[in-house]
């Protein structure tokens, strides 16, 4: 009697574990598809990168980035650059799915819809990170600012997470509308403002070498935002891609 009960529970854990593994595998399949497509075409990353560098260049003339100004505006310039380049990437990554009916193919696959969301989000996050990894040293060299600060890296990871979590959900809505590309920043920016404020402030504080007591509230806010919006997107993505 006892043995069979144990068997059942063991069977159950085995089943949940294999279900988990299948879920992770399907997420990975979506991520891999995006990365492979990008490795072959290099459409998205090159556009995001060149655009990001252009934004920094424009800021250079708009703000007269001399040594004094740089100390105060660096974090703001960086985050505006990431936000703009990010919308470009999000739009493109979803438009690619929509254009040739790839999204329909994805939806036909016998996997949980949320796996598609997480796959797309992780893909977008990877693209964001690549752009950030290249922009940071370029900015450091061009403006002679040392940006190699572990705290700054942490802020960038937390900020990008929140940005991509909401951005992936909203971009999959935006591509299904008539106004498409125009709509994404209008939908995304007002909602992502909390992350943006916290990220700019926290990066600025880290670069200025402020104490952790001042920085923690902003980090906490970003963590809370990331958790809440990943959960909301996870719960609502089904309704966004439903036909």
């Amino acid at each position: 009697m006892e043995e069979s009960a144990m068997d059942v529970s063991r069977q159950a854990t085995f089943e949940t574990r294999s279900a988990w593994r299948a879920y992770l595998r399907s997420i990975w399949a979506v991520v891999w598809k995006d990365l492979a497509a990008e490795l072959r075409s290099r459409e998205l990353l090159s556009a995001m990168l060149v655009f990001a560098l252009l934004v920094i260049l424009i800021f250079n003339f708009a703000l007269e980035l001399d040594a004094e100004t740089r100390a105060t505006v660096t974090s703001g310039v960086l985050w505006v650059t990431f936000a703009f380049a990010g919308t470009l990437g999000l739009n493109r990554s979803m438009a690619m799915e929509k254009d040739r009916g790839c999204l329909d193919g994805l939806l036909l696959a016998p996997v949980d819809r949320s796996a598609i969301y997480f796959g797309k989000a992780i893909g977008n996050l990877v693209f964001m990170f690549v752009v950030e990894i290249i922009v940071l040293p370029v900015y450091s060299i061009l403006y002679n600012v040392n940006l190699f600060n572990p705290g700054l890296i942490l802020v960038i990871v937390l900020g990008s997470l929140g940005y991509v979590a909401v951005g992936t959900l909203l971009s999959s809505m935006a591509v299904q509308t008539r106004t498409r590309d125009v709509l994404l920043p209008i939908l995304l920016f007002p909602v992502v403002i909390p992350v943006f404020i916290a990220a700019v402030k926290a990066s600025g504080f880290f670069l200025a070498g402020r104490e952790m007591v001042d920085i923690w509230p902003y980090l906490n806010l970003m963590i809370v935002y990331d958790v809440i919006f990943t959960a909301v997107a996870f719960m609502t993505f089904d309704y966004v891609v439903e036909e």
Binding site: M173, Q176, P190, V191, P194, I197, L221, Y239, V240
Partner: protein, 232 residues
Amino acid sequence: MEPKPRLLSILDSVTVLLLLAATAAVFFYAPTEAVMGQVQRVFYFHVAAGWVGMLGFLVAAIAGIVYLRTGRRNWDIVGLSAVEIGMVFAFINIVTGSIWARPIWNTWWTWDPRLTTATIMELIYAAYLMLRAGIEDPNRRARFGAVYAIVGFISVPLTFFSARLFRTIHPVVIGSNQPGAEGSFDMSPRMLQAFMFSLFTFSFVFADLLWHRVRLGRLSDKVEQLKLKTMA
């Protein structure tokens, strides 16, 4: 054409009477504030309009959740109506606030957390309306509207907290003030009564407008269906 419900007509008259009474209370019953003078009277409708704005956005988020669960068109109409009313009252809230801020803070506008949050809230719901305008299929429009109403509403308190981490100068009349708030005052009992009555009245205004707007939405749905029927 369905006739106007009796209860709605009654609600209309009650709301108009309440609104007249509230206006009278603000101008004649509430005493003039000692330091700020007459301009402080803006406060009663300023807060009440802000309350209706928040209420509208809350109702829209709840209607969004219910719509996604049940898929009934009515809830989509409720959500859209609540957003429209909320936007108008949030705007009244901003404008009356500016009128008050000009003499008290010596500026029409400042990037205080409450003001920042109010502005971003208006932008969120402007985006909501633009999102809906870009979609033809009514079911998809309803689904996307519901999702965005939920996402937008959740982000509002986070925006407020993130902006509040800087210091604020906006007075908090109910609850404790932060140091540095300018233009705060203690309410006398008569002020409190006028204030509570304004909140009560504006809640009626909200309910009345919502009912009218939902009814309008349903009628326009019906017209749409009739059009399709005659064309077919």
